[in-house]
Every structure is written in C-alpha cells, then in structure tokens.
C-alpha cells in the first residue's frame, strides 16, 4: 500500500442559495478562522503553514486570476499559494502529491464559489465549450448532461420515477446535514411535476445554484498528531479525463470514472469496493448521475442502475447521506463537499447521519459536461 496523508480538520459554511450580504472573502474567512481555531496551526516558517492551495474559478468569480483577491483571507500573504482552477477534488490530489513528494508537509486547502453572483450558471458552463462549434449550439452542462441522461436511462432502465425518488431522498438526507442547503421537502409526485429543463432532466433533477466555501488542513502522516487526535487518511487518489468533444465518446460507457476508481482502489489496496467500503459520496450534478456513478465506482452492476435503486442500493451502500451534490453544492466544489462528508463519518462526527463503524469511504467528483473528468479518493479512519 502506498503512503497516506492526513486530513486534520475541515471547516465549511452552510450551503446557501444566495449569500447576498457577503462577498466570497467573507465566506472564506469563516472557514479559515475555524481551521486555525480547531488545530492551533500557525504560519511559522519552520513549523507552520508555508503552502496554501486554493480552488476557485475565474468565470464564476468574474475576475481573472481569481485567487489573488483572496490571499489575505486564506492567510497566504508572504507564503506559497497555488490555485486549482478545476474541480476541488483535484486539490486533494495536488495536496497529496505535494506532501508525499516531500515538497511540503503541511497544506491549507481552501475553496470558494459564489454561484449566485453570475446571472446564469448555464452561461458559465457554455463558455467551457469551443467558440466555433459547440458554443454556438448552446451546449452547457445542463443540456449536455441531459443527452447523457437519456442514453444512460435507456441503457440502465432508469425512469422518471427513479429520478424523482433520488431527489426526494436527497432532500431528506440534506435536512439531516447542518451545512446542507435548505430545500423544500417534496414527494415523488411533486418532483415529477417540476418543469422540464432538458428532457429528461427536470429543474428539480439538477443541483440548485449554491454559494459555499470550505477549508481543510492536510499534513504528512508523521505530523498529524500535532493538529488532531482524530485524523482521517487519504489512502488513494485517481483521476481520468475523457474526451472533450461530446461526439467522440460513448456517453454511457463511464470510461473515465471506472478508470479513476480503479487507480484509486489500487493505491488504497481495495479489491472489492462493495465489501471494503462503508460509505460513498457521489457528485450527482443531476439525479441520473447517482446510479450512473454508482455503476462507475463498482457498487451497481453495469446496465442495472434502475434495478439497483429498486433494490435499495442507495441505502444499502450508504450513498450520499449528506444529500449529495443534488441537494446543493457549487458545481466547482462537489469533490471537497463529498470528502468533507466522508471526513465527518470517518472521524465519528456525522451526527444523525453517522454510519456506524465506518472505516473506509469513497468521495467522487466530476467536472465538464457529461462526466468528462472524473476523480475518486479513498479515505480511511
């Protein structure tokens, strides 16, 4: 088994539809202060934080080099600061590389996204596409996901009723999560009356616009005891990038997720995820992705997502007890949100959601349309 790194502490603000009274610096500051308070970590050049990794996105922030306006509230003044402008889960992989390579042994990892700031998140994700062809076609993550949803639902016999069931469960779970976005509890019938965005995706089947920020303190195995009695370990990380152009891939193949999961499991020494992992947090940007990613990480049989839901797979494998991405996290930060939920369970701090005797958990995240980029981390208590 490869070496591991410790998560010593996590901090977050509550997921909110619109922090109209805060700028994202205020959101980050809450998390920063919480980490300092929890761990008593300093910025001493010998023993304190010398490296800060941040996660933010220029287009969501509407400013270029989005990290340099936040360096003061993440303590990065006169220290090394490096930005991850990708799904936040990659920041964990980056921190892991940084620590295991010996580049540094203590990392503060902060992220923010204020999705309420821009008029339309769909206009933002439209900019992910090339200006000559896909952008003029109006592609964005919603309608591209819908294309994948239709193909996947056909393949795995997932229905409108299944998607409604996923949303209802997500919102119920979200209510148990003190940091979860406040959403209305709905019935399956109500969910299926939600307006159609891009058939088969209804408005309620897509994660809602959310503002959020978080912080995490990560360090080497040797130093963990300086900051916590209860560290959680990252023992595996794998990521995979699928093709950029939609027309190049089989939308239902789950290629990049399977690849990322296998690499992560191999690092963590996991042979059978169904038996060895007690908790799964999956980044379901839209409801159909929950069973699809469940197939990808190996807890549902390929092509059987619908039946897996009917058989109680979501509860059997403790999937998305936080409410998942579907209950509301910013698009950019799903991975950090998933990892933080796993951290709570593995350190026995998950309150009413707590999975008993949770020893291992998987956090998965995706970015790009139709699950283009995938990353999976394995965490252990």
């Amino acid at each position: 088994m490869a070496k591991k790194i410790a998560i010593c502490a996590v901090a977050q603000i509550k997921n909110d539809p619109d922090y109209h009274y805060l700028r994202f610096q205020n959101m980050l500051l809450e998390c920063f202060e919480s980490i300092i308070k929890q761990t008593k970590v300093t910025f001493d050049m010998e023993k304190g934080i010398r490296t800060i990794i941040t996660c933010s996105d220029d287009v969501f922030d509407a400013r270029t080099i989005s990290n340099n306006g936040i360096t003061d509230v993440v303590g990065a003044h006169f220290r090394g600061e490096e930005k991850m402008a990708q799904e936040s889960i990659n920041g964990l992989g980056y921190a892991m590389a940084c620590i295991l390579s010996g580049h540094d042994d203590l990392i503060l990892f902060m992220g923010h996204c204020k999705e309420s700031q821009g008029e339309s998140r769909r206009m933002v994700s439209n900019l992910a596409y090339d200006p000559f062809y896909c952008r003029p076609l109006g592609m964005d993550y919603h309608n591209v996901d819908a294309m994948q949803a239709r193909a996947y639902m056909e393949k795995s016999k997932v229905t409108d009723e299944h998607l409604a069931k996923i949303v209802v469960r997500s919102r119920k779970n979200g209510k148990q999560n003190p940091y979860g976005r406040e959403n209305k509890i709905v019935t399956e019938k109500e969910a299926m009356q939600s307006p159609m965005y891009s058939d088969p995706l209804r408005e309620i089947y897509i994660y809602p616009v959310t503002d959020w920020a978080y912080g995490m303190l990560l360090c080497s195995e040797e130093r963990a005891k300086e900051f916590t009695n209860n560290p959680v370990w990252i023992t595996g990380y794998g990521s995979c990038m699928d093709t950029y152009f939609l027309g190049d891939k089989d939308l239902t193949s789950n290629f990049s997720l399977k690849n990322a999961a296998q690499r992560s499991y191999a690092k963590a020494g996991i042979k059978d995820p169904r038996k060895e992992i007690q908790l799964f947090e999956l980044s379901d940007h839209a409801a159909y992705q929950l069973p699809m990613w469940a197939e990808g990480v190996g807890i549902a049989d390929e092509g059987n997502g619908g039946k897996w839901i009917d058989d109680g797979g979501m509860d059997k494998f403790n999937v998305n007890l936080s409410g998942g991405q579907l209950n509301g996290n910013p698009l950019l930060l799903g991975g950090a949100a998933r990892a933080i939920e796993c951290y709570y369970h593995l350190s026995n701090q998950a309150g009413t959601r707590q999975v008993k005797n949770a020893k291992r958990a998987v956090a998965q995240a995706t970015y790009g349309g139709a699950g283009q980029h995938q990353a999976v981390i394995v965490m252990e208590s």
């Binding site: 805060l22 700028r23 610096q25 205020n26 202060e33 300092i36 821009g118």
Partner: protein, 396 residues
C-alpha cells in the same frame, strides 16, 4: 486620385455598402464624418441597421469626424498601417465624440485588396514595363546591344530592348538587326519561362522556341544586366482568408460588497473616508478589507481619515483603456494619484484621479518630501461608489 497599395481612397468608401455589417450597427444612430486630406470629405449615416455614404463638402452635424491623409486612411482600412500607431502619432485624428467614433470599428468588414488574375498580356506588359527599372547600368559599361523578343500567339507581341551608353530603352517593334532575337511560338511559354514554371531546355527541345544571333548574349549577359522579374501576384498564391469569430463574452454579475467594503462605500455616500485598522499592528487599509493580511486577524475597527491629504504616487495616462463599466475610452491625458490622507502613514494610500487641468501642477511626495496637498471634490448625488468622489483637486 492617388493610389496607395493599388487602392484609391474612393475605393474604401465605394465598397462600404458591401462591407457593411448590420450586426455591428445595432444601437448605432449617428452621422460620422471623414475628412481625407487632398481627397475630399465623406459623410456616413448609420441608422436602423442601415448605412449611407455621401461625398460632401459640409461635415456639419457629424457626431465625430476622422481626419487623416489618403495614405494613412487607406493603410488603416487595409491593415497596411497599424491603427493604434497612426492614432498615437497623430496621423489619424478624431474630432468630436471619440467614444462614439469607436463604434465605427464594428460597422465594416475589412477591405480586402483585390487579387486580380493576371493574363499573359498583363504579364508581358508588366515584364517589359519594368525592364528599365530592373536595368543595372553599372553592368553595362561599354556595352551596346539590342535584345529582340518575338512572342507569338493571340496575346503576344514584339519588343526590343536597347542598351547603349549605359542607358536602357524599350520599343514595341523589332527593327534592323538585333544582337539577338528570341522567338516563342506562344507568348504564354515565355511568361511561364520567366516565372520559372518551365525551363528553357524543354521549350527549346520541343521546338516551341528558338534564338537567333548572339545566343550567349541572351543566355549569359541578360541575367547580369537585369534584376530578376518579380511576380506581382507573389507566386500567384491567393491570399488566405482568415476566419475569425468576434464575440463579446458577457455574463451579468452582482457583486456583494460584504460588511467591510460596504461600510467604506456607505462612508463615501456621507462624504467620509473610512480606513480599517489592524488590532495587532495598527496598520490602516484603504479601501478596507476583512483582515490584516500580515497579521492574519480580522480588522473590523474603522477610522475616519482625510478627506484631505498629499499625493504620494502618480502617473499620467495618455493611452486609455476603455472604462470597463461603460465601454467608452476615457478622455486622455488623465492623472492617477495615490493619496496619503491626513491620519494615514507609510503606504496607507488610496488611488483616485486628479482634476484634469491640474495634472501639470501635481508633485509627488517621496519619503520625507511632501507631495501636493489635495482634497476630494464630491458628487452632488452620491450613491455609494467610488465616483461619489469626482476627482481630487489641489487644496489651495
């Protein structure tokens, strides 16, 4: 009318209609003038996504008028002259509303220099027309010779090139007894030969051409006496059209100020300038931010400073970026200053603008040297943004 790069000023105006882009004319309702030195004046009317261009003697009523000489005007329109340089060096001037004139940039597709096909006749005319200019007199010391060309076919003709006393002349006849005569059955082969498309040996071998008289004079001396003919079509490769998409990316935003920046902006509304103070090191920050970056602690205590102060840093801007909020280029020159307000010290300065007519009078402070004393000029109706201060002026 003079030509520049083969294009007349009139050509630019006459093609405006076909180069017009209605999508670039949205929201434009104005009359623009063009005053081209020694060429004339034109009036461009844009309204309802349509345009009209008129040659005129009266440019009254134009919102903005461009002034340039013919060469610069053609150059800028064809991309032969850099527009920014032309503007900066004063070769192009705009009288009137500069911001409005900026919109004309989107109204037209670029003028593309027409690449006409050249016929055999065109080539022959050009080849012999340029013989004299290609003649290298110093290679003709003591030489007296005549080179005759008898080129057949419909587009052919006869030419004689005379060299005497280091002077070269050309006639379109063949008279007397030339030193050497080159005969081609088809003038096209001659053109292709000169352009390097076919070689002399194969033409001669095929019996399509022959030389009479002093063949060596033609084969060896001619290439020394004359510079090589340059194909005006540049090898006849048509200029590639570069397809470029021009789009403005725009996603509306609402920027929350948060409690700290919010308090500062509210202060401006009340004609007060608030700095925030670090509880540990006592440093002031302007504009205020949530934490003292150096001490990593919240800095929520506010101190009113100024509103008068002295100039510390300054610059004079001559080439302005468009105002990001309005898209209109600022009027230049303007002066940016960093003000050290009364109550602040060290680098606790705040940037703003100086009154335009006082730019020349401002002195920058440095270390112990005092800068010019300034005071804010407040806007009548203040809304809580940085333009609640119109600018700073000298405090006399």
């Amino acid at each position: 009318m003079a030509e520049y790069w083969g294009i007349k000023v009139e050509d630019i105006f006459n093609t405006m209609q076909e180069r017009f882009r209605p999508e670039g004319a949205k929201d434009v309702d104005a009359v623009f003038g063009y005053d081209i030195k020694d060429e004339g004046k034109w009036k461009l009317t844009v309204k309802n996504n349509e345009m009209k261009i008129d040659k005129t003697s009266d440019l009254a009523g134009c919102i903005a008028t461009m002034e340039a000489d013919g060469e610069t005007f053609v150059g800028v329109n064809t991309g032969k002259v850099d527009a920014t340089n032309a503007f900066m060096s004063g070769k192009v001037k705009v009288e009137g509303d500069m911001g409005a004139f900026g919109k004309t940039g989107k109204l037209f597709r670029k003028y593309v220099i027409a690449q006409k096909e050249m016929t055999v006749k065109d080539y022959l005319a050009d080849m012999f027309a340029t013989v004299v200019s290609r003649f290298k007199a110093k290679e003709a010391e003591g030489l007296e010779a005549s080179f005759a060309f008898d080129l057949g076919g419909q587009e052919g003709g006869k030419w004689t090139v005379f060299i005497k006393d280091k002077v070269c002349t050309v006639t379109t006849t063949i008279e007397g007894k030339p030193t050497v005569t080159l005969e081609f059955n088809d003038a096209k082969d001659y053109v292709d030969f000169i352009l390097g498309k076919i070689d002399a040996q194969s033409i001669l071998a095929a019996g399509k051409a022959s030389a009479k008289g002093d063949i060596n004079m033609m084969a060896s001396k001619w290439p020394i006496l004359f510079e090589k003919y340059k194909d005006p079509m540049g090898g006849n490769i048509p200029e590639q059209e570069l397809i470029v998409l021009k789009k403005t990316i725009s996603v509306n935003q609402k920027f929350s100020t948060g409690p700290i920046m919010g308090k500062f902006l509210k202060g401006l509304k009340d004609k007060k300038i608030y700095a925030n103070k670090c509880p540990q090191c006592g440093r002031l920050q302007l504009p205020p931010r949530e934490v003292c970056a150096e001490c990593r602690v919240r800095a929520a205590d506010f101190v009113e400073v100024g509103p008068k102060g002295e100039v510390r840093y300054m610059d004079l801007v001559y080439y302005a970026m468009p105002d990001p909020l309005t898209g209109v280029a600022r009027e230049t020159p303007y002066g940016g200053i960093n003000i050290l307000f009364d109550g602040c010290k060290g680098n606790e300065t705040l940037p703003h603008f100086i009154r335009k007519d006082q730019i020349e009078k401002i002195q920058m402070g440095w270390n112990e040297k005092k800068g010019t004393r300034v005071r804010p000029v407040w806007e009548e109706n203040r809304t809580g943004d940085i333009w609640d201060i119109k600018y700073f002026e000298i405090d006399e």
